[in-house]
Amino acid sequence: MAEGAVDAFARRHRYRLLEALPWLAAIAAYIAFPSYLALGAQILATILFALSADLVLGYAGIVTLGHAAFFGTGAYTAGILAAHSWGEPITGLIAGGSAAALIGLLSGLIVLRTTGLTLLMQTLVVATMLAEAANKASFITGGDDGLQGMEVWPIFGRLRFDLFGNTAYFYCLTVLFLCWLAARRIVHSPFGRSLTGIRENVRRMHAIGAPVTQRRLVIYTIAAGFAGISGALIAQTTQFVSLSFLSLERSGTVLIMLIIGGIGRLYGAFIGVPLYMIAQDRFSTIDPVFWYFWIGLMMVLLVVFARGGILGLFERLRR
């Protein structure tokens, strides 16, 4: 019994078969829907954005309405590079992620001193300030018109971004996979577990001598980096960046997608994002005027019948 409990506990981080499902689904989708690869690439990149929000909100319990700040920073960084004759995609991604992580670190130093509603407002303020800065700096960002004239080079100098989105799809899938590996590792590390501790009971975390503020800052910075990579992916694959990348709507939508899937479980993003984006695509085709209503209705039903999102629903059904 004794060894049993210890062993079971020590084995928690091992990979389970079910975790292959999102990746098999992504490959199946590539084969089944060849004419939707552009949307598919968007979904994959947005999953990374939601995954990054999950690290902040779901694991560390940091409530944010400004996560688009990092997404937009990554997108503009990669976009501006590509528009100014540096279209190499991998370095563009790294630059986007690094710039976003830097913004995360600097803003985190200030906003993470607070909690609750004050924190919520402060994250919102950071994103709004960045959006306004991007608006004013129209000579470099294109301002209201959006950033034009990006030219993204082939990956490794060989794989050209094609019209059908084949390259974009696998590019996004690969980057998402690598970031997921890293995120999964973080979540299962003692650091990741301590974040869960902070979310569950911050007073206790202080009482066991954990440097809570520092831990929160570290995850905020890492998650900002992931959000930046996600923004850079979308900028590179759509060859367009606009002020909406930094908007409150973008920050809010990613939370909605994450909540639909289920927060704090690492896989909520993989369910919520495709569901939301596919529904949005379908509804807006069927009903171009009224589609937001259907999205709203879906949300209401989920909140009423599936608290804890779809993953939460599955967990309850399994018991």
């Binding site: 409990a5 020590a10 084995r11 577990r193 301590s194 869960t196 007073r203």
Partner: protein, 251 residues
């Protein structure tokens, strides 16, 4: 002579007009079995919060093992062996008992911020946590989330977490509060069997428990030390009786 495990000098704290600590001088000797008692609102829990660093005093000094810690945040005080439990159970409620204790041990070992190795590979920490849980009779519940346990067992988990931090000074804030009397026995036994080198301060209402465990008692009233001494003297002290009967002590 070695300094006391914990000492406060002229500790003072007020919130506006409300004074919760009015110049408290207090010594907790090494290996002490010391109780802090007093009526509701006497400032017992505030005293714990001040000592651990959750609250900042307006004046006075806090010394841990002879060293000044008044300005230190909570975490470094914990690292120096100053550990508390909470009056109202404060655990990671949805995490298992084993994980609650493992988290504490990882922090003590300084690996709590490790980013790369999976937590399951910190085998030594997990085994130490399990041994501790077993010692407190919680082995069968090791993998259960804390919020599914009976309250008495949650209180034991609370003690297990604090022991995982290898305390030199342990502040037990009403360890048996809210526990049905049938289960208090287990908690008393656990406290009685704590290693003798831990300096223990028990904040308690339950006089049976206090007189069973404590060899020294301090009575706190309205943020000041009213009297201190061995249990027999405290039990016989008329001023203490008056306080507990709800009467004011004439100045």
């Amino acid at each position: 002579m070695s300094p006391p495990a914990l000492e406060t000098r002229g500790l003072r704290k007020s919130f506006g007009a409300l004074t919760v600590a009015n110049g408290i001088d207090f010594r907790l000797e090494r290996g002490a079995r010391h109780a802090l008692i007093g009526p509701n609102g006497a400032g017992k829990t505030s005293f714990v919060e001040l000592v651990t660093g959750a609250l900042r005093p307006n004046a006075g000094d806090i010394l841990l093992d002879g060293a000044e810690v008044t300005a230190l945040p909570q975490a470094p005080r914990v690292k120096r062996g100053l550990v508390r439990t909470f009056q109202i159970t404060a655990l990671f409620r949805r995490l298992s008992v084993l994980e609650n204790v493992t988290l504490a041990i990882c922090e003590r070992q300084g690996v709590g911020g490790g980013l790369f190795r999976p937590s399951g590979r910190y085998r030594a920490a997990i085994e130490e946590a399990f041994a501790l849980i077993e010692r407190l009779g919680l082995a069968d519940d090791a993998l259960r989330p804390v919020n599914t346990l009976a309250y008495g067992r949650q209180r034991l988990t609370e003690i297990a977490v604090s022991l995982g931090l290898a305390p030199k000074v342990l502040l037990l804030d009403e360890p048996a509060a809210g526990v049905p009397s049938s289960e208090t026995g287990t908690i008393i036994e656990v406290i009685e069997e704590l290693p003798p080198d831990i300096a223990l301060l028990i904040i308690e209402h339950d006089m049976d428990l206090v007189f069973r465990l404590a060899r020294h008692i301090t009575v706190l009233v309205q943020g000041s030390v009213l009297v201190e001494g061995p249990p027999e003297a405290i039990g016989a002290d008329p001023r203490v009786r008056q306080v507990y009967l709800g009467e004011r002590v004439p100045a």
